[in-house]
């Protein structure tokens, strides 16, 4: 950098003449405008704003001017450099935008390409439907209770008021477990039971019994699970199926409470306005007992007597059979040590397979038991 020189005449410094500054500025502006891409602009940038560019050199000369001339020259050069730098930034932005637009076009892909690299898994609809029902009741304060599938006859039958000679015992087509004497070859006469006193549970009711034996009333439990009957597998039967049963034991429970609980359940599962209907029936473990139907959630009963609008789901009956229910037979309470003078209870149970069939229009029971991935996959994680 030069030292101050008081005798120096600014007019004599060619580079700081106004016309010269303007020329440098205009040359820079022209070069930027002429730069067709970012690379050219980078060159122009070095040439016109770099340390050896004319304007930088001119700027350097200012220091050598006499004090009185510095201000004016400084202002002139500064303005020119300001304009140049602005123009550079503008051109830079312009060219970057052009480049980006071009690159993004080049990077475009076919977004319709499939991506089934690892096909989705799924849970079985029987599992998820059962859970959905459980959730309705856990939200109301019920517990989910579970129990063994190989069960004693006392828990599966006797405690439920199905004594050995009760006609209802014969109606449950029961798998009997052989004794552990090795072969288990004691082929019992049909229906006479195994000597082991152990069966595959024919319903989840033994879980109700276990729940009452396990805890003091009030008892509010929902018992989902696999149960077994000696039916052959066909389009509408399966020897292994799933039930959900409910048990409520408390002071002052009534049949109206049972009805309300059922109504609530079908509304939660099938939507507003759904309701149930009770028809008298007989079960040894409940008294009074009822068969429960729900209004057809598809036609809402409008197909009845209306041949123009037949309903496949309910066969134009207007109602769909759900299962059995009733007030817990006081004898059952007694067998579980619950005082029937103080407590009453209600219970119901139904098959999940059946509900899955009418809720999702499944035509053949076998589809639910064969584990074909084409059946299960569409059901996904929840139902």
């Amino acid at each position: 950098m030069s030292a101050p020189n008081k005798s120096y005449d600014p007019v004599e410094v060619e580079a700081l003449k106004p016309a010269e500054i303007e020329r440098m500025r205009d040359e820079a502006l022209a070069a930027f405008a002429a730069a067709g891409d970012l690379e050219a602009l980078a060159h122009a940038k070095v040439a016109h704003t770099g340390g050896t560019s004319p304007l930088s050199l001119a700027n350097r000369e200012i220091g050598a001017l006499p004090p009185q001339a510095k201000a004016e020259a400084g202002k002139r050069v500064g303005q020119a450099r300001g304009v140049v730098s602005k123009a550079l930034a503008a051109r830079q932005a312009e060219l970057e935008a052009e480049r980006d637009a071009r690159v993004l076009v080049e990077e475009a892909v076919d977004v319709t390409l499939p991506h089934d690299r690892v096909p989705a898994g799924a849970r079985h609809p029987l599992t998820t439907l059962s859970e959905r029902i459980e959730d309705v009741f856990t939200a109301m304060g019920y517990e989910v209770a579970e129990g063994p599938e190989v069960e004693t006859e006392w828990l599966n039958f006797d405690a439920l008021n199905i004594a050995a000679d009760h006609p209802a015992r014969g109606e449950h087509d029961t798998f009997f477990v052989a004794g552990t004497d090795g072969g288990g070859g004691t082929t019992q006469a049909e229906g006479s039971g195994g000597s082991s006193g152990v069966v595959l549970r024919t319903h989840t009711s033994p879980v109700q019994i276990r729940s009452m034996l396990d805890r003091e009333p009030p008892v509010y439990v929902i018992c989902p699970g696999r149960v077994y009957r000696t039916d052959d597998l066909d389009a509408t039967h399966t020897p292994v199926f799933h039930q959900v049963e409910l048990l409520a034991v408390d002071e002052g429970l009534t049949m109206a409470d049972l009805k309300g609980t059922l109504d609530h359940m079908v509304q939660a599962l099938f939507g507003e306005g759904m309701k149930t209907r009770l028809r008298p029936n007989f079960f040894p473990f409940t008294e009074p007992s009822a068969e429960m139907d729900m209004v057809c959630y598809v036609c809402r009963g409008e197909s009845v007597g209306n041949p123009d609008r037949p309903c496949r789901t309910c066969s134009s009956e207007g109602w769909i059979e759900l299962g059995g229910c009733g007030m817990v037979n006081p004898k059952v309470l007694v067998a579980c040590g619950v005082d029937p003078e103080k407590y009453s209870g209600f219970a119901f149970g139904f098959g999940i397979e059946r509900m899955l069939m009418f809720r999702h229009n499944v035509e053949d029971m076998r589809d639910m038991v064969e584990g074909d991935v084409r059946f299960t996959r569409p059901f996904g994680m929840e139902i």
Partner: protein
């Protein structure tokens, strides 16, 4: 119970406009399960008339004998001329009265009748069989031959009561009384609020000492025995048309007059009856338990070996009937065409037997008869005398018999059954204010006598043995007031705690596996023990110890699963066979493992809670039933596609599926090489977790043994995992402690270690972690290399180590020191050498 509507109307004046469907609706609401309403004679249109066969010409030129007949149908054909009809049946003769359908008529099944040429003649109508008229089986095997007294030209639709409706009712075990017209009529009368004409209200002569002698040796098994005698029966007498038709409509076959009458009275009153040929009984009738091993032939011709619990009817020679179940061949009523001569004298039995005894006998001999069905469910003991009387009356009326004056009645004394109940009990059961008046009225309607004000004393009717407790009476009131009128209220359970940890884990495991691409496939637990050989299990493998069924669906699969794999592999094979080859399946479920110490539970009472010891004894009778989870994989785990190559499922996917499940219970599995069937001995991982403070084997994973895939017909290189979910739940660490997150910069160091091939990588990683110390934030194996550069029998493991401190920025020196310490420990413990060093 099949109930013809026309018959029902005999006891209840149902409005004439009520259809079978209307009655069905009412009875269903009252609790009778009316399954169907059959429309008899639907679409039937005449002319259908009585004709008399005038001539029969046998046509012999055809493959089967054919008859060309002329039949007098009176004026029914408009001309009065004989009707020419071709007929294939042969069970009739000239002069017989038959049913003739004329051209223009329509038979059930939309079968329009017209004159048509057949077998070279023109047939102007048809001579009808019962089948063609929708009458059901009449046992004739041919056309209907009518009694000679019916007049030619009579409308046969009316004569044979062909148009009717029949309600088919599935009677529940508590409603034995509805296995009779009387019982159903009672329910219909209540449902319609009409009077019942009770067919059991008959004048019955008082018992006397000169009836047929009867000795009841077991008054508990038989608390009532009525015997009546009718003599002088006309052996030629047949059941009249109305009687035959009612039996047919009710689903029974007419057999002979005496038998038909006993069946008819049983249908009407619900009392099973038996008619013995008096000439074939030797001495007094006795009722006793059979002797063990005693032999006896029932009416159906079956020789039976009796049990000491069976109740039998006897004469001097031995059993003549299996009480309440079936009569004996030795005293059977003889038919009119019986060679030994038809029965002309009968002894009528109307008895009451113990329900349980009959149920056991029927089950023991696999002999469910109309009689046993009724006795099992409870028969009205008070109706026995009336039923005997009704039978006698019909035998006199229809068979020209004479009732003998002797009336035998052996009755064990019994008091009417009463139930005490607060008058508001039905209200409290239902949650409805019926009020005392309604309760009393409804109970009276079902036949109860009711006394008392706030506390009712209810005497139940003899035909309702099912009414035994206050709730039974409550049900009667509530059903008659209408279940449909119950209000809908919600109870208020105490606040709940949601699902248990075990239940949540079960759900999470399923979700995690489905999220990883596995499809759930629950399977039946029935297996064949042969599968253990296919799985290559050792002779002493505990999985071979199974729970067996006495009555399996298939003799091939008598055992319950001890592992989930056979079922799940079956599902894999089924899917593969159906064209899905890239498969990842899972199942959660119970397996059944005998404890070897199962006891036979004693008979526990039900009139009290079992003691804790008794409950423990019940549970001791059961096998161990833990919940497991299994996965199986075959084909591609990752599909090939535009993104590049696919990747076949391998052992590592199986192991990873176990880790996926374990993560859900917050458990880090320890993996070790193992040799365990059915897995490939070099590709089998044993999986361990810390359960109750001890390292415990929780399952296995890997590739299946090639012999197993071959034996089971599985795709090659099928992989599988099975883990005990209940153990994982117990291994869970409980509430997770949140990690401390440092915001200081990370220092990354990579190391490549050369170790002998047989050193498990898990061990190397373990040692590196230990050696690196607290500054180590994470370690990741990013490459495994095997090649000549690093020497035979060696492998190179490349790890990325990330170091970070919680309170400062680490210097390069600190990070390097930690790495060096890690490598040094690895060298010491595993013989690792830093690659390139």
């Amino acid at each position: 119970m099949r109930v013809p509507l026309s018959w029902l109307r005999e006891y209840v004046d149902l409005p004439a406009t009520e259809t079978g469907r209307d009655v069905q609706t009412k009875l269903i609401a009252a609790g009778l399960e009316v399954e169907t309403v059959e429309q008899l004679g639907a679409g039937l249109k005449g002319p259908l008339v009585v004709g008399k066969v005038l001539t029969i010409e046998e046509l012999t030129e055809f493959k089967k004998p054919i008859r060309f007949c002329t039949v007098d149908v009176g004026k029914a054909n408009g001309t009065g001329e004989p009707q020419e009809i071709v007929c294939g049946a042969r069970n009739f003769a000239v002069g017989d009265k038959v049913v003739v359908v004329l051209p223009g008529a329509v038979l059930p099944g939309d079968f329009a009748i017209a004159a048509r040429k057949t077998y070279g003649r023109t047939s102007h109508g048809m001579i009808c069989s019962g089948d063609e008229l929708g009458m059901g089986d009449d046992g004739s095997g041919g056309i209907i031959v009518l009694p000679p007294e019916v007049e030619v030209g009579t409308d046969a639709i009316q004569l044979l009561e062909l148009v009717d409706e029949v309600l088919d009712i599935a009677v529940t075990p508590d409603r034995g009384y509805c296995l009779s017209m009387r019982g159903v009529a009672r329910e219909a009368a209540i449902a319609y609020g009409l009077a019942l004409r009770d067919p059991a209200l008959l004048d019955v002569p008082a018992p006397n000492s000169f009836g047929y002698p009867v000795k009841v040796a077991d008054p508990i098994g038989c608390d009532r025995f009525t015997a009546r005698t009718v003599v002088g029966l006309d052996p030629e007498a047949r059941s009249p048309i109305w009687l035959q038709r009612r039996l047919q409509k009710a689903g029974m076959r007419p057999i002979s007059l005496a038998v038909d009458i006993t069946n008819y009275v049983m249908l009407e009153l619900g009392q099973p009856l038996h008619a013995y040929d008096r000439s074939r009984i030797d001495g007094p009738i006795g009722i006793r338990r059979a002797e063990q091993g005693e032999k006896f032939t029932t009416l159906d011709g079956a020789k039976r070996v009796l049990d000491a619990e069976d109740l039998v009817i006897t004469d001097n020679r031995g059993p003549i009937g299996l009480a309440g179940v079936m009569g004996g061949a030795n005293t059977e009523i003889a038919d009119h065409d019986d060679t030994a001569g038809a029965t002309t004298e009968v002894v009528i039995e109307a008895a009451h037997f113990d329900a349980v005894s009959i149920a056991r006998t029927a089950r023991r001999h696999k002999l469910a008869s109309e009689a046993s069905k009724r006795f099992e469910r409870g028969v009205d003991p008070q109706a026995a005398a009336a039923a005997a009387q009704r039978t006698v009356d019909l035998l006199v009326l229809l068979a020209g018999g004479t009732a003998e004056a002797g009336v035998t009645e052996v009755v064990a004394p019994s008091a009417p059954r009463t139930i005490s109940m607060p008058a508001d009990h039905p209200d409290r059961v239902a949650g409805v204010d019926y009020g005392r008046e309604t309760v009393v009225r409804r109970l009276q309607e079902v036949g109860c006598d009711v006394y008392g004000q706030d506390e009712l004393v209810v005497t139940v009717p003899s035909w309702r043995p099912d009414l035994a407790a206050p709730n039974d009476l409550a049900e009667e009131v509530i059903r008659l007031e209408g279940y449909e009128n119950l209000p809908s209220t919600l109870p208020r359970p105490p606040a709940g705690r949601g699902l248990t940890e075990r239940q949540r884990l079960h759900r999470r495991a399923g979700r995690a596996l489905a999220g990883a691409g596995f499809v759930e496939a629950p399977n039946y637990p029935f297996i064949s023990e042969a599968v253990f050989d296919q799985l290559g299990l050792d002779a002493g493998d505990p999985r071979r110890s199974v729970v067996k069924l006495v009555n399996p669906l298939s003799d091939e699969e008598p055992a319950l699963r001890t592992t989930l794999l056979p079922g799940l592999l079956g599902a894999l094979r089924r899917n593969d066979g159906r064209g899905s080859h890239d498969l990842a399946l899972f199942e959660t479920g119970l397996v059944f493992r005998p404890t070897g110490e199962e006891t036979v539970p004693g008979r526990l009472p039900v009139d009290r809670r079992p003691t804790d010891e008794e409950i423990a004894a019940l549970n001791a009778a059961l096998p161990h039933q833990p919940r497991r989870v299994a996965t199986v994989l075959a084909g591609a785990r990752e599909q090939a596609g535009w993104w590049g190559k696919g990747r076949p499922a391998d052992w590592a996917d199986a192991v990873e599926s176990a880790r996926t499940v374990a993560r859900e219970s917050g458990v880090e599995l320890t993996v070790r090489a193992d040799q365990h069937a059915p897995w490939h001995p070099g590709r089998c991982a044993a999986l361990y977790a810390t359960v109750d403070g001890e390292e415990t084997l929780v399952g296995h994973a890997g590739e299946l043994h090639p012999r197993v895939t071959k034996a089971l017909g599985l795709p090659e290189r099928t992989c599988a995992m099975e883990v005990e979910l209940d153990l994982l739940e117990r291994a869970g660490e409980g509430v997770l402690q949140a990690p401390r997150i440092s915001t200081f910069p990370v220092a990354t160091q990579d190391v490549a270690l050369v170790v002998p091939q047989d050193v498990p990588t898990a061990e190397v990683e373990q040692v590196l972690r230990e050696g690196a110390g607290e500054l180590l934030e994470s370690i990741r194996l990013f490459d495994v290399f095997v090649g000549s550069q690093i020497g035979e029998g060696k492998k190179s493991l490349a790890y990325a180590l990330r170091f970070r401190a919680g309170d400062r920025t680490l210097t390069v020196e600190e990070a390097s020191a930690a790495r060096d310490a890690a490598v040094a420990l690895a060298a010491e413990r595993t013989g690792a050498v830093l690659r390139g060093a």
